[in-house]
């Protein structure tokens, strides 16, 4: 092994003795892009118009479609405003692309964070009713079997997020469901009996 060959001062082959003057470097490559006046003013006016548009769509009676739609519209306008600010006021369109990459990456992380979390929150109480009418964890499909043994498969979505009756708990919604009123009563009637043979029908 050559551990003892210590050439602290030799071996400059890879480090040519450059004249390393800190001030001698070329500063002329630093072209300043002077912010133009007129585009910025236009962007500012555009932002004011978009603010007015947000107010109008949110407050005018005839624009009210539903709460979710209006929120979406407001957020789309806000995104457009944010885009204007980022592109012009924050010079993204004049700068190197790497800054845009940073913005896109952060937006990607934000969207990921919120959407995946909301997917979980929105499906927390999305449960499946099995053929016996019990509520069990797993899946999102509801299967009904009628008297003649035909299977009817429907989407069993009992999440406040998707429901027509916002604000109700899952149990309340399930109880309100006309399909279930019968079933709830039936299962209570079965309390007196021993087994869970709901399928038998005749006791």
């Amino acid at each position: 092994m050559a551990h003892d060959h210590d050439h602290q001062t030799e071996n400059e082959g890879l480090m040519p003795n450059l004249e390393h003057d800190e001030h001698a470097h070329d500063d002329h490559g630093h072209h300043v892009h002077v912010t133009p006046f007129m585009p910025m003013l236009l962007v500012f006016v555009g932002l004011l118009c978009l603010t007015a548009l947000t107010l109008w769509t949110a407050k005018a009676e005839y624009f009210y479609v539903s709460n979710s739609v209006n929120l979406t519209v407001a957020l789309i306008i806000a995104s457009f405003k944010g885009l204007l600010v980022a592109a012009f006021f924050m010079h993204l369109i004049y700068d190197k692309a790497i800054n845009t990459v940073v913005v896109v990456a952060s937006m990607f992380a934000v969207v990921l964070f919120i959407t995946i979390t909301m997917i979980d929150i929105g499906t927390q109480d999305m449960v499946d009713k099995t053929e016996k009418g019990e509520i069990a964890v797993g899946g999102s499909v509801q299967i009904q079997v009628d008297e003649s043994g035909n299977r009817q498969v429907t989407r069993g979505v009992y999440s406040p997020f998707w429901s027509d009756n916002p604000g109700l708990s899952i149990v309340e919604q399930a109880k309100n469901d006309p399909e279930n009123v019968k079933k709830y009563n039936k299962s209570h009637a079965h309390d007196d009996h021993s087994g869970d043979d709901h399928s038998g029908g005749d006791h």
């Binding site: 800190e22 001030h23 470097h25 070329d26 500063d27 490559g29 630093h30 072209h31 300043v32 002077v34 912010t35 133009p36 006046f37 910025m40 003013l41 962007v43 500012f44 932002l47 004011l48 603010t51 947000t54 107010l55 949110a58 407050k59 709460n67 209006n70 929120l71 407001a74 957020l75 306008i77 806000a78 405003k81 944010g82 600010v85 980022a86 006021f89 924050m90 010079h91 700068d95 190197k96 790497i98 800054n99 940073v102 913005v103 990456a105 952060s106 937006m107 992380a109 934000v110 964070f113 919120i114 979390t117 909301m118 929150i121 929105g122 406040p160 997020f161 916002p166 604000g167």
Partner: protein, 229 residues
Amino acid sequence: MTTAPISSGAELAAKREPHEDYVHQHHWRNAADEAEAAKFGMWLFLATEVLLFSGFFCAYAWGRMTHYGTWREASHAYLDWKIGAVNTVVLLLSSFTIVMAIRELQLARKWRAFVYLGITNLCAIFFLVAKIALEYLPKLQDKKLPGANFWYYNPHGTHDHLFMSVYWISTATHGVHVLIGVLVISWAMYWTARGRYGPKNFMFVENTGLYWHIVDVIWIFLFPMLYLV
């Protein structure tokens, strides 16, 4: 100040603005690299700011999803959209003026830049004063406070306190950012007046502007979410 004519080179040098003799830090190869790196670093910082606020947006989305009914009612019942709208316009104006301040610095017109920065700062202070005087103090008096401290005598829905939690923590965090912005812009004003910033060296003001814009952008999103829909 004497008004004697300039007679020597040393005196001429003394009359130069500091920004004209700007030298980049020693570990950079040239000033362009330094400026680009400063801006790139600032953008990375802004990415962290966006992600910081994404927590509030996520909490808002959660509330909207799980307390769907009360969430929109609370917004209309407790917040005055007119104050929010005025503050939005004020912040947009301040964003525009700080862009103009940078333009003036690039053109070496420091007093114009100073005035633009001053307008920006006045807007920021207006925003804060309006926020505190017209929104926070009346809400404090009515005990429209976050979470467990919500004791408003005439609550609108069952989960109003959670809406007020999201409102308070997101706008207060935003307000703290505005306050930091006021301090940084004041610093920029001071050194602009002293002539530190000019065409060769405006990166501090530029980065201040970037920070200020992101504060603006976050408000652009908070305003419709909290006040309008």
